[in-house]
Every structure is written in C-alpha cells, then in structure tokens.
C-alpha cells in the first residue's frame, strides 16, 4: 500500500487540542475568535477589513482584490491548513445600503477549525460584480462558483468554465437570488412557454459539446446552418 492511501484523521495536526464537543451556551457576540483571524491580521494587515465573532463563528472580511491571496495563504500555510472548502455563496441584504457579500466557508481538517471569509462587493454604480476564483486552490469551487454566478451574477475571474449551472444557458431573466428579482420571475408564463417551445435541439447542448471532435460533422444540415449563423435559441 502506498503512502498516498494512508488514512488521514482530522485533528492530527493539533494532538493537544481538547476533544471536540457539542457547543453549549454560545454567546451571540464577543466569543473567542479563531486563531486564524489574528494570524491573518499579522500577515495581511490592511487587507483584513474587520473580524467579527457571531454565535461562536469567526468571520473575516477581506479586501475583495486580495481574497484569493488570503485564501491561498490559509490553504498553504502550515499553521493554518484550511484544506477543505465547504461552500462558496453570496448574501445580498434587503437593505440596499449594505454591500453584497461573497462568502467562503473553510474548514481545516488537520486542526479541526472552521472559518468564514467574506468579501464585500458594491452593487451601486453599476460596477461589475467580480472576485477572483479560488478554483486554482480548491477544485471543489468549480460548481459552487458556477452556481453563485448563476444565481447572483458574480463573475469569478479565473474560473475555467463559468456558465450557468442550475438555469439553462439561454436563460435571460437575470439572476434569481438577487433581491430585485421578483419571486415569480420576470417573464410571464406565456412568454416562458413560448421560449420553451421555440427552443431548438442544439440549445440543449453547450457549444463545447457541439464542437466535440467529430460530433459536429454528424449534426443534421439545418442544425449546422443555424449554428453557422450563430443562432442558438431558435428565435
């Protein structure tokens, strides 16, 4: 058996740490922060906007330009080792004065720690919502970032294949989880039905798939003609 398959037990990097236990009597504010927060302050200084502890969970708000750098350091540094990306998501508040937040939930399996990293994006002034993708650090970010893009319209620079994932590629109603998106959708039912009925078979496939090797040659002539004209939706 090779070393590649040696069993990895979480918590091995902190053998003296107390045994994990169900949290009790957690204070709303002012709990003990995660040691990662102080280390980040020491390492990145002004890039760390603020650190808050809510219900025992530490949140580090970082400068959005340096989010990838911070997360890469958390992943690589031997005193942190945040090797597990739990989640990438975003939060938009009902209060339009508050910025939109991109949230990364990180876990350190070797130290049994949990850390929330946030970057704030300004939605006012029509600025592009963009942060760097952490796909180069965690492969897990692939679909999570695609979903976040699909639902909020946040662009993750450096993602290899940033396209919609839950909605279809020709979906034109916007970004469903934004607060300005109505619960029932933007288009009427009849318009949605019309679009669905007008869809061509090729709209079910991504351009990448349609151009796979020889598959393109096997397509029916009318399909190839439409693709040649750049028509995807059949309208």
């Amino acid at each position: 058996m090779s070393d590649a398959f040696a069993i990895m037990r979480p918590g091995f990097a902190a053998p003296d740490a107390p045994a994990p236990a169900t949290p009790r009597a957690v204070a709303h504010r002012d709990g003990a922060p995660n040691p990662g927060a102080a280390a980040l302050r020491a390492r990145f200084g002004p890039a760390i906007v603020r650190v808050t502890v809510v219900w025992g969970e530490t949140t580090v708000v970082v400068d959005r330009q340096r989010a990838l750098e911070v997360i890469r350091w958390l992943h690589d540094d031997p005193t942190q080792r945040y090797d597990y990306l739990v989640d990438v998501t975003a939060v938009e508040f009902r209060d339009t004065e508050q910025p939109l937040e991109v949230v990364w939930h990180l876990r350190s399996l070797p130290f049994r720690r949990f850390l929330r990293v946030k970057a704030e994006l300004d939605t006012k002034g029509g600025a592009a919502l963009q942060v760097d993708s952490v796909w180069s650090v965690y492969k897990a970010a692939d679909w999570m970032e695609r979903e976040c893009f699909d639902m909020f319209g946040i662009r993750f620079a450096g993602h290899p294949d940033l396209r919609r994932i839950l909605m279809w590629e020709q979906y034109r109603e916007g970004y469903p989880l934004r607060k300005d998106f109505p619960l029932r959708g933007r288009f009427s039912r009849s318009e949605q039905l019309r679009q669905a009925l007008a869809a061509n078979p090729e709209s079910r496939y991504s351009m990448e798939e349609l151009t796979i090797a020889d598959a393109y040659e096997d397509l029916p002539r009318d399909m190839r003609d439409r693709l040649g004209r750049g028509e995807r939706t059949g309208e």
């Binding site: 398959f5 990895m8 994990p20 939060v91 009902r94 989880l177």
Partner: protein, 437 residues
C-alpha cells in the same frame, strides 16, 4: 474457504500500483485445487485520442441516472474521454422561496430537497435556526433528534444499496433493503403521520413527542435489522460479479477527495476519517460510542463497504439513544418560538394573543448568521442562515453534499468504460432534489 452454489469466495489483493500511482486490486478466485489465484488484470484503458469520437447523451429521463441527471459523454470506442454533466432539471428555487418564509415555514421545504433523508434535513435546519435564535434544546429533544437522524441515515443508505444493486445487476438485495425501509416509514408514520415529507422538527423542539408503542417498535427493529445487513453482506461483499464490477472504479486519492470537497462515505472511502459527528459534533454525538468506517482505496467497492458498516454503526447509535432516552419536555420553555398549548390558546385571551403573534408575525432572531453542518447520509449537509432581525431570513443557503460530490464525476469517470459510468454514478448516492434544489 467455503463455496456455495451462488457465490464464489473472492479475496482481494493489492498487486501493485498502476501508472497513476493508485493501488491496483485484482480479485482472487479459487482454481480447481482450491488455491487462490489472481484473475488476469484487464489491460489499462488508455484512450486513443486520434480515432473518431462519439458524443452520447444519457438522461435526463433514464433510470440509472437516479433522477433527472443528464450526462453528455465523449466516447472513444467504449472508453469515456470526457464527461459533461447537466443539472438543474428539478430546480425549484428553494433558497429564494425561503427568503419569503418564516423559519418554521421553511421546515416543510427541507423535506423536499433530499427527500430520502427528510427527518435529517428537518433536524439540521432546526439546529441552524436554533443557533441563530440562541436556543438550547431539551435533553429529551436531543435524543429524539439523534433517533430521527440515524433512522433517516439507515433509510437513505438502504435506498442507495437497493438501487445500486439494481444498477449493477443484482435484484434481491433491493427487495430486502426496501422491506426494512418500509419498517422505518411505518415508525415515522406513527410519529408524525407522514412517511416521506415528515416536517419532524420545529424551531426549539419537535412537531410531536413519540407516541406509545414507538420505542417497542424501534427496539424490535434494532434487533432484527443487523440480520438483514448480514444477508446483504453475504450476498454481495464476496460476490465475484459484484467485486468485478466495483473494484478499482472511480478512484479518488485522499488529497484529491479533500480538494474536490467530497464528504460523507465518498470521502471516507478514500481514506479520510472526516465525519461531522466526530469532528464538529452536534446533538451530543461525542457521548455516543460508534466507529467511523474508513476505506483504503477510494473506489466504488470501498464506498459500498463504508456504507454497509455505517448502517451497523447507526444501529448501534440507535440502541444507545433508546437506552438513554430521558423523560421531560420536548419543547424548550421559550415563549418567543414555542406556541402555547392548544387548550390554553382557545380558553385564555393572553395565550390566544401569544399564539396569534407567534404564528402570524413569526419569531424574530437577533441580527447574525450561522452555519450549522450535520453528517447527512450523503455527506456534510450545512444550512447557512443570515438574519437581519426580521422574522424571515435574508439568505437561506443549503450546502448540498451530493451537489459537491457529483461535481467530481467528470474526474472519476474519465478513462473508464461506459458501463462503469453507471456504477460510479450510483456510488455517489445522488438525490437530484438536493442537487437542483
């Protein structure tokens, strides 16, 4: 070694490493003299990129995709060169709807995402909301929730076992496991009156205490259940067809598995002993005596072994929970979230006003956010909730374990045969309701 008519005894040996540095295991079979010999290892599948490739579409309406998953495969002969999954056919916008619902009104939605694990989702959501409210639940409620979580784990793993057997070509274990699952559904029916969409919990407590006769039924289930597992074990674990169709497929190394964010049995089969119940405990799981099974090769066969052992361990936890089940109230004594008793609400003015306010206005948590993860049968299931002080969450995010596990399928199937794609896909244990939400 005893051989029977139906099964051939098979041993597994590590014969060396393949080109990628992964251990190659070949089944050993008995020759005429009864000695174990290695089966001729199949030649390594190296796709020939120069030849003609074929595009093939599986799903979304295909029984082997376990729902409405659609896989577009690029094939070289029968070898998969590339796999592009398409999801979203079941997307209902649960997270959007949750922003328009009070906390207790969201609980029925959690039934419907991972519908094989409804009680587990209910408990997970209630735990998340309780952290947001700062509520400590009662001891009896804690143990009842452990029972609910482990019952739903057994339920979900049994469905996985049955359907995966059908995918790979064995029919009998499907009937056995669905028979046991029916017993659990009967118990849930007794408890809350629903089988699939249980809505078992409320913020601060449970929808109902367990009824009379529930513990007896559970006790007899705990006693009988390992026998069924042993039957499945005898049928599959050393079955030559089963071993031949599962060993060495979809291998993920530990580092890869962690980097791809896999969780649950998928991660543990790869040799990472990460279990939320042990490492970030909730519901006093640290006080229960149970083991975390870990695989060594990260292939489909190990995932099967891990899930089979988890069923035994869940049964152990159920036994302990039943033994320690304390008396006392189920709901917390917190008028912010808990309704007054119905008799009082219909006879006293103050209680009626209280009832009205809790139902119509809804409980309001303080401003804050919480992420609570539980070990669902599929992996780490987390609920991230953000409150702005109103009775409805600003953001309710589900961290879906099968969504993240499925995102590794292009990596796992590349270089395998088309027929193995079905086995690998089955081993992920996907529920499309959770993936598409």
């Amino acid at each position: 070694m005893a051989t029977t008519k139906r099964t051939v005894d098979v041993q597994l040996s590590t014969s060396g490493l393949d080109a990628r540095g992964r251990p190659q295991r070949t089944p050993l079979v008995l020759d005429e003299r009864g000695a174990a010999v290695a089966v001729e290892a199949p030649p390594a599948l190296e796709p020939d990129f120069a030849s003609e490739h074929m595009l093939i579409n599986i799903g979304p309406q295909h029984p082997a995709t376990h729902g409405v998953l659609r896989l577009v495969l690029e094939l070289d002969g029968e070898t998969v060169v590339r796999c592009i999954p398409h999801i979203g056919y079941l997307h209902c916008g649960f997270e959007k709807i949750g922003e328009y619902r009070q906390y207790n009104q969201i609980i029925p939605w959690t039934d419907r995402e991972d519908y094989l694990n409804s009680p587990g989702n209910n408990v997970a959501f209630a735990l998340g909301a309780e952290r947001l409210f700062g509520i400590e639940i009662t001891p009896r409620c804690t143990v009842l929730r452990v029972i609910a979580m482990e019952l739903s784990r057994i339920m979900s793993h049994l469905v996985w076992m049955g359907t995966t057997c059908i995918d790979i070509g064995a029919f009998t274990p499907f009937l056995w496991s669905f028979q046991e699952r029916e017993k659990i559904y009967e118990m849930l029916d007794m408890w809350v009156g629903a089988r699939l969409t249980t809505s078992l919990t409320r913020v601060g407590g449970m929808a109902a205490d367990i009824p009379d006769g529930f513990t007896d039924k559970l006790r007899s289930f705990i006693q009988r259940f390992p026998k069924t597992l042993d039957e499945v074990d005898r049928m599959l674990t050393r079955n030559a067809i089963w071993v031949g169709r599962t060993v060495g497929l979809g291998v993920m190394t530990p580092d890869e598995a962690v980097n791809y964010g896999l969780s649950g049995p998928m991660l543990r089969a790869s040799g990472v002993a990460y279990d939320v119940r042990k490492d970030f405990p909730y519901l006093d799981y640290e006080t229960y005596d149970f083991e975390v099974p870990v695989g060594t090769n990260g292939d489909v066969y190990d995932r099967f072994l891990v899930r089979l052992e988890e069923l035994h361990q869940s049964n152990r936890i159920l036994e302990q929970a039943l033994r320690r089940l304390p008396d006392g109230p189920v709901n917390v004594d917190d008028p912010r979230v808990i309704l007054p008793p119905k008799t009082k609400a219909t006879s006293e003015m103050e209680s009626m006003i209280h009832h009205f306010k809790v139902v119509m206005e809804g409980p309001r948590p303080p401003i804050g956010e919480s992420y609570v993860a539980v070990e669902s049968p599929k992996g780490e299931k987390g609920y991230y909730m953000v409150s702005d002080g109103t009775s409805k969450p600003v953001r309710w995010r589900i961290r879906p374990p099968s969504f993240v596990n499925l995102s590794a399928i292009p990596r796992m199937v590349e270089g395998h045969l088309l027929s193995d794609v079905i086995a690998i896909n089955a081993s992920i244990d996907i529920v499309m309701g959770e993936i598409d939400r």
